[in-house]
Structures are given as structure tokens and as C-alpha cells.
């Protein structure tokens, strides 16, 4: 569904993505993992058109998306930290996005009920707690029943009940054929959800494939240990290279 080739992005002297080739197959959950500042959020933002790549190509169902806006009607996005215009109420935000998308068709209000948002819909966003905003954020991502959902650290600010409701929702929607791109620091969570993982390290793709393949390759029992083992291996290789110089 999504294919990137040779994606590069630098902020001044700092290169965040170097020639990144990633494929996101339709109907699967692809998890982007990696340590802090490995380029995960930048990759998501490039897909959404929030950040402009220096070079490279992004295809959405075979069509290049750079400079376009219409393709975003097929994407639902849940950002890491929910930011909303302060004086608007949650109900205004839902109405605004419905208005902008001009969609009266399929609307998925399930999360508004499941995440118990009804009592806060009339409250200005500035009075909502971080967790409550994040619930609004989750409900918005699913609202228009999009083909592709990009969820950046979706459960980070959620309480256990909301987090498990969201994970159930992800599983149900995946079973209905929706495609997901997930990033999370909680690797155990990704292990239970992800069909594929893409491991970004220092702006490059270090591994891409099924989680079981990474476990096999590293001989570890969990994703967390497998990732740690790859990072340790890279560090000691880098140290050896440094010493050899």
C-alpha cells in the first residue's frame, strides 16, 4: 500500500533518514521501531505531508503523494502528543473534521462510546487532561473509517482500560482489512499486534520482516531482547571499527 524509496531527510547537519526504503503491505500491521531520535516520527510525518523530504519517492497505492492533499482522506492519524485548538470543544473538532472531509458516509463512532467520551464532548479542549485528549485523538483517527491508520505511540498516555480497548479496536479493524503503521516504545505491545516490523537505527533500516524472523536471527525470546541484542551488536562492531582505525 505504501512504498518509499531512497527517502532522505536532514535538519541542518543532523541526518534523520538516510535512503530509507520501506514497504507497508495492505491489510497488515507494520510496526516501526527504533530508539529515540531514530527517525520514526519523521517517517510518519513525511507520509502525512507534515514534513517535506529532501529526496526520495513515496507511493500510496502506486501514486506519488508529494505535494498532494487528497490522499490524506484515506488516512487516520493519531499523533504522539494530542494538540488541539484550545478554545474548541471536542464536539467542534469532530464537526470541523467531518465538515472538511465533506463526508456524510461511513463514520465510525465506536471509540467515542468505548472510550467514554460522550460526557466531555462539550468541554473546551484546554480543560481536558492529557489522557482524555489522547482518547479524543484515538477516536478521531478511526472516525472516518480510513484505509490506513498511522498511530504514533498510541497507548503511551492512556490508562490500562482505554489502552486495552484501543488494542482490541486495532485488532478488529485489522481483521476487517485495514492497514496500520504503528510506532511504540512498548515492544511487548508491538509483539502482540505487529505482523511486520521495520527497525530503524540511526536513520537507516536495520531490519525489515516478520517479528519471528528477527527472533530467529538473534536467538532471543522476546522482541525487546532481540532489538537490544541488535543494538549491542552494532555498538560493539562500531567500537571495534573505531579501535581498528
Amino acid at each position: 500500500m505504501i512504498r518509499t524509496r531512497g527517502l532522505r531527510k536532514s535538519y541542518g547537519a543532523l541526518t534523520v533518514l538516510r535512503d530509507v526504503d520501506i514497504d507497508v503491505p495492505r491489510g497488515e500491521i507494520t510496526a516501526i521501531i527504533g530508539p529515540n531520535a531514530s527517525g520514526k516520527t519523521t517517517f510518519n510525518k513525511i507520509l502525512l505531508g507534515l514534513v517535506r523530504p529532501d529526496s526520495g519517492e513515496i507511493l500510496f497505492d502506486g501514486q506519488p503523494i508529494q505535494g498532494q492533499a487528497a490522499y490524506r482522506a484515506r488516512i487516520g492519524y493519531m499523533q504522539q502528543l494530542a494538540r488541539f485548538p484550545e478554545n474548541l470543544r471536542a464536539a467542534d473538532v469532530f464537526e470541523m473534521l467531518t465538515d472538511l472531509r465533506g463526508k456524510q458516509g461511513e463514520r465510525d463512532d465506536e471509540l467515542i462510546d468505548t472510550l467514554a467520551l460522550a460526557p466531555v464532548l462539550q468541554t473546551p479542549m484546554r480543560f481536558l487532561s492529557g489522557g482524555m485528549r489522547q482518547r479524543v485523538n484515538a477516536a478521531l483517527a478511526f472516525l472516518f473509517a480510513p484505509d490506513l491508520l498511522i498511530l504514533d505511540e498510541p497507548t503511551a498516555a492512556l490508562d490500562p482500560l482505554s489502552s486495552s480497548s484501543l488494542k482490541d479496536k486495532i485488532r478488529r479493524e485489522r481483521a476487517r482489512g485495514r492497514t496500520f503503521i504503528l510506532t511504540s516504545h512498548v515492544l511487548s505491545e508491538l509483539q502482540e499486534l505487529a505482523d511486520r516490523i521495520v527497525f530503524l537505527l540511526d536513520g537507516g533500516v536495520r531490519f525489515a520482516g516478520r517479528p519471528v524472523d528477527l527472533l530467529k536471527q538473534t536467538g532471543e525470546g522476546t522482541l525487546e531482547r532481540a532489538v537490544a541484542s541488535v543494538m549491542r551488536g552494532d555498538r560493539s562492531a562500531a567500537r571495534k571499527l573505531e579501535l581498528a582505525r
Binding site: A70, A73, Y77, F84, E86, L88, M96, D99
Partner: protein, 263 residues
């Protein structure tokens, strides 16, 4: 056009609940009421109001505009992940900035005039011009604010730049013109002074009003020059066109910066 109007509707909903805009409206309401009580309903009140307009509209618009543009991160991040083009978002946000400020000014100035029954047949034209000049200045300084906020990402430095531009255009510039006029008073400097006035939107707005109030000599060097050279409809049209350009040119540069920006 429709996405712009839709965005503007929600930006307005957000901005109209902002305390700054309400305070701005109340200020004009009180200021024009007090001036009408102190200076009566004649041209003196209009000149006093004009001085308030020429200083305050640029200051409030450029400061509020710079802060507002930096603070629209929430709208930007939310709306740019939707099927909304960057240019539509830009125009929606810009209209959402200029429209409430203009409305607060127009309503704040007009309401006391209506209540004091101060609008007679001869003052209607002047009042309309005063309102036009105020709205035009809101557009100009809104565009400059948006350009500053687009170029200077740091909020505090942006605010400093905004205050610097205001000080230069609304305060220091006329002193500079006066200095030129007195230093070169024995030379034919009318044409250069007219050109220099077009280089400053505050002077343009002043000229627009003074051409219709018989008090040009009281209002600085540029007013006197314009009265002589550009009195009549041609002068009004030239000043309005100048103000239009002062909105469009910084606005286009700001749009360019907005299109290239990473969010």
C-alpha cells in the same frame, strides 16, 4: 474557496473566544466613547481617534498576529493531516486573524458614535474612511506578522522582531521624514517625500485620512506634502492601492514560507 471558508469558521470560533480580541474591542469602545465626550463630535475627535488608530492597530495586530501564528501549531498539525491543501489552511488562518481584529475595531469605534448620534451627513464619509484605513492597517500588519512568524521560528525572537518593525514604521519613520524635510527644506523634495511615504503603510493610512480632513499641516510633514500633490480621488486611490500592495507582498512571502515549512 469552500475549504478556506470552512477552516476560517472554526478558527473564528477559537479566536473569538480569545481574551485579547475581546479586550481590543472593549478598548476601542471605551477610547472612542471617551474621545467623543472630551472632544465633541467634530473633526477634532476624528483626528484624536486617527492618532489612536495609527499607533494602536499596527501594534496590537503585529504583536497578536505573531503570537497567534506561532500558537496555531495545533490547527496546523490537526488540519495538515486532513485532506486540506497548505494554501487553503494558510488563507483560512490569515482570514481568521484579520477578520476578528477588524470586526473588533469597526464595532468598537462605531458603537459609541452611533450611541452619541455623532454620525451626521458630513462625518459619514470621514468615518467610513477611518474604518477603511483601520481595516487596511489590520490587513497590512497581519501580513507582516505572519511573515515574521513564518521566518523567525523562535517565539520570543519573533515577538522582538514584531515590536522592532512596529517601532520603525509607526514611530521612528515619521521622525526620519521630518528630519529629511527640515534638513533639505531649501531643496525640491516633495517627490522624494511622496515616494518615501509609500514605503510606509502607517504614513499611507495617515495620508488617506488627512486628505479628507482639513488638518494636514498639524499631522507631520508627509500629510502636508500629500495634501498638496495628491488631493482628490487620485490620492485616495493611490494610498489605498499602496496599502493593498503592503498586504499582498508580505502575504505572498509568508505563504511561500508556510508551503516550505516542516511541521
Amino acid at each position: 474557496m469552500r475549504p478556506i471558508l470552512r477552516i476560517m469558521r472554526y478558527v473564528l470560533l477559537d479566536v473569538l473566544r480569545n481574551r485579547w480580541v475581546i479586550g481590543y474591542f472593549l478598548f476601542f469602545l471605551v477610547a472612542s466613547d471617551v474621545l467623543l465626550r472630551l472632544a465633541g463630535t467634530g473633526p477634532r475627535a476624528m483626528v484624536s481617534l486617527l492618532n489612536v488608530v495609527l499607533l494602536l492597530i499596527p501594534l496590537v495586530t503585529i504583536v497578536f498576529g505573531t503570537i497567534y501564528w506561532h500558537g496555531q501549531r495545533e490547527f496546523n498539525e490537526l488540519l495538515l493531516t486532513q485532506p486540506v491543501a497548505r494554501s487553503s489552511l494558510f488563507h483560512g488562518l490569515f482570514a481568521g486573524l484579520v477578520f476578528p481584529l477588524s470586526a473588533a475595531f469597526v464595532a468598537g469605534v462605531s458603537l459609541p458614535l452611533l450611541l452619541h448620534r455623532a454620525i451626521g451627513p458630513e462625518s459619514t464619509g470621514i468615518l467610513l474612511l477611518l474604518l477603511t484605513a483601520g481595516v487596511a492597517l489590520t490587513g497590512v500588519f497581519g501580513a507582516i506578522a505572519v511573515l515574521i512568524a513564518g521566518l523567525v521560528q523562535d517565539r520570543l525572537r519573533g515577538l522582538g522582531a514584531a515590536l522592532g518593525v512596529w517601532l520603525l514604521l509607526a514611530v521612528a519613520y515619521d521622525g526620519f521624514l521630518l528630519w529629511i524635510a527640515t534638513t533639505f527644506r531649501n531643496h525640491p523634495i516633495e517627490q522624494p517625500l511622496i515616494a518615501l511615504s509609500f514605503a510606509n503603510p502607517v504614513d499611507l493610512a495617515r495620508v488617506l485620512l488627512l486628505l479628507h480632513l482639513d488638518v494636514a499641516a498639524l499631522m507631520g510633514a508627509t500629510g502636508a506634502v500629500f495634501q498638496k500633490a495628491l488631493g482628490g480621488p487620485a490620492g485616495t486611490a493611490a494610498a489605498l492601492a499602496g496599502l493593498g500592495l503592503w498586504t499582498i507582498i508580505p502575504g505572498l512571502f509568508a505563504l511561500r514560507a508556510f508551503r516550505r515549512r516542516d511541521f
